[in-house]
Every structure is written in structure tokens, then in C-alpha cells.
């Protein structure tokens, strides 16, 4: 698991997963969209708490390797300010066959999104900005049933 403030380079990351035993490569990329929940997005800011994000990300990758017969798996997440179209997160997986590459790639991105200490703040065309999810929890906790589990 790597956190970077630089542009993510999927081509070179993919190259690191090369293996003569690999028959399948599945890559996932999360790109910055120009809209979210009806709002026009201008740019996005990722705050990452790197010490825990890297440890937890490595744990997720190790889980994927133990669940599926993979050859290699890696994940890179951006931090800082991103423009529309930029790659926020990349996951790459190689394996002998495609079943496990698809399943593991999906497992990693799903877990990364819910477990790593990463927050995104959207800056809207309309001028304001907001933490995605976070604002809702902090200010409207009671309105969100999923946030009131005991």
C-alpha cells in the first residue's frame, strides 16, 4: 500500500506486477468525477493519515492474497488536491486465471474505501465545499440510521 501526493502512473505500476505465470491482470482506477450527488465538483482534496492508512492497506492486500490464489496485488492512493479526471486510487492484481483477479481487485477497493483513514473534501463549482460523508455524520448524525447502531 502506497500513499502519494504525485500523479498516479497506472502504466508503470502495472509493470511492477508483471509475471510470466500471470494469465490475468485486473486494474481498477477511481477517477475524480465532475459531479457528485447532484453537485458540480470543481476539484477534490484528500486527507490521508498515512501511518495507519499504509498498515491497514497492507493488511487488506494480505487478506486478498490469502483469500484468492493471486500472484501480485498492489494499491496506491493519492493525497492532497486533485483535479477532475485525475486518478485518486489504483488497484492492480495479477493471477493465473481471471476469476480470482476480478474478485480480489473488487475486494481490495471495497475494503480500502471503508477502512483506510482517508477523507475527501469536495470543492463545488457553486463556491462552497464539504467533507464527503463526514459532514453528514458530524452535523446530522441523528438523521442517519446507519450512524446510530449500538
Amino acid at each position: 500500500m502506497r500513499i502519494t501526493a504525485e500523479l498516479i502512473q497506472p502504466e508503470s505500476l502495472r509493470g511492477e506486477l508483471r509475471d510470466d505465470r500471470a494469465g490475468a491482470y485486473v486494474g481498477f482506477e477511481g477517477w475524480i468525477r465532475d459531479h457528485n450527488e447532484g453537485q458540480e465538483v470543481l476539484r477534490l482534496e484528500y486527507e490521508v493519515y498515512e501511518p495507519v492508512a499504509v498498515v491497514e492497506g497492507d493488511k487488506i492486500i494480505a487478506e486478498a492474497m490469502s483469500r484468492y490464489p493471486l500472484l501480485h496485488a498492489e494499491c496506491v492512493h493519492r493525497s492532497g488536491l486533485l483535479e477532475i479526471g485525475e486518478c485518486a486510487v489504483w488497484v492492480g492484481v495479477t493471477s493465473a486465471h481471471r476469476d480470482e483477479a476480478f474478485a480480489a481487485c473488487r475486494y481490495i477497493i471495497d475494503q480500502v474505501k471503508i477502512r483506510l483513514p482517508i477523507w475527501k473534501k469536495e470543492h463545488y463549482v457553486a463556491g462552497h465545499s464539504g467533507w464527503v460523508n463526514c459532514e453528514r455524520c458530524a452535523t446530522h448524525g441523528r438523521e442517519h440510521p446507519q450512524a446510530i447502531r449500538s
Binding site: 477497493i109 482517508i118 455524520c137 441523528r142 449500538s150
Partner: protein, 81 residues
């Protein structure tokens, strides 16, 4: 028992608190106690919702014990990817 702990706030919690971190002395047993004691700081109603906590850079549960000198990291709901 009163403990001296360092509390760190992230993202929306940090903006609500207006500070990155602070040292507090308080009578707490668990990470959940810390969250509740400092509700006026981070502004979130629900410790056990989508919020998370780490103690000394290790992910923890809300009922994990907090010791004297520990650093408690309060994470609002995450949104990677």
C-alpha cells in the same frame, strides 16, 4: 482514574475543533469514553456509527482500554477512493 492522553482530530473533526490535537486529563476507561467526553470538540453525536478510532497508530474498537500517555486518534467516517 484520571489519565493524561493526547487526542488527535482528523478532517471534519479537526475543522470543528479548530485544532489538530490536544492534551487532556480526564477520567476515561475506553476509546468510546474519550469520544463522548470530547463531543463538544469534534461535534459528532455518534461514536459508534461510521466513525473510527486508533490508539497509538493502531486501529482500535470503541471499547478498547485507553491507558495513561496514550494517543487517541478520532476518525470521522472515511471516504477513500
Amino acid at each position: 482514574m484520571t489519565k493524561n492522553i493526547t487526542v488527535r482530530y482528523f478532517a471534519g473533526f479537526r475543522e470543528h475543533a479548530g485544532i489538530d490535537a490536544e492534551e487532556v486529563s480526564c477520567d476515561v476507561d475506553t476509546a468510546g469514553d474519550v469520544f463522548r467526553k470530547l463531543q463538544h470538540r469534534h461535534g459528532s453525536m455518534e461514536p459508534l456509527g461510521h466513525c473510527k478510532v486508533a490508539i497509538n497508530d493502531e486501529m482500535a474498537d470503541w471499547d478498547t482500554a485507553v491507558g495513561d500517555g496514550d494517543t487517541v486518534l478520532l476518525f470521522p467516517p472515511v471516504a477513500g477512493g
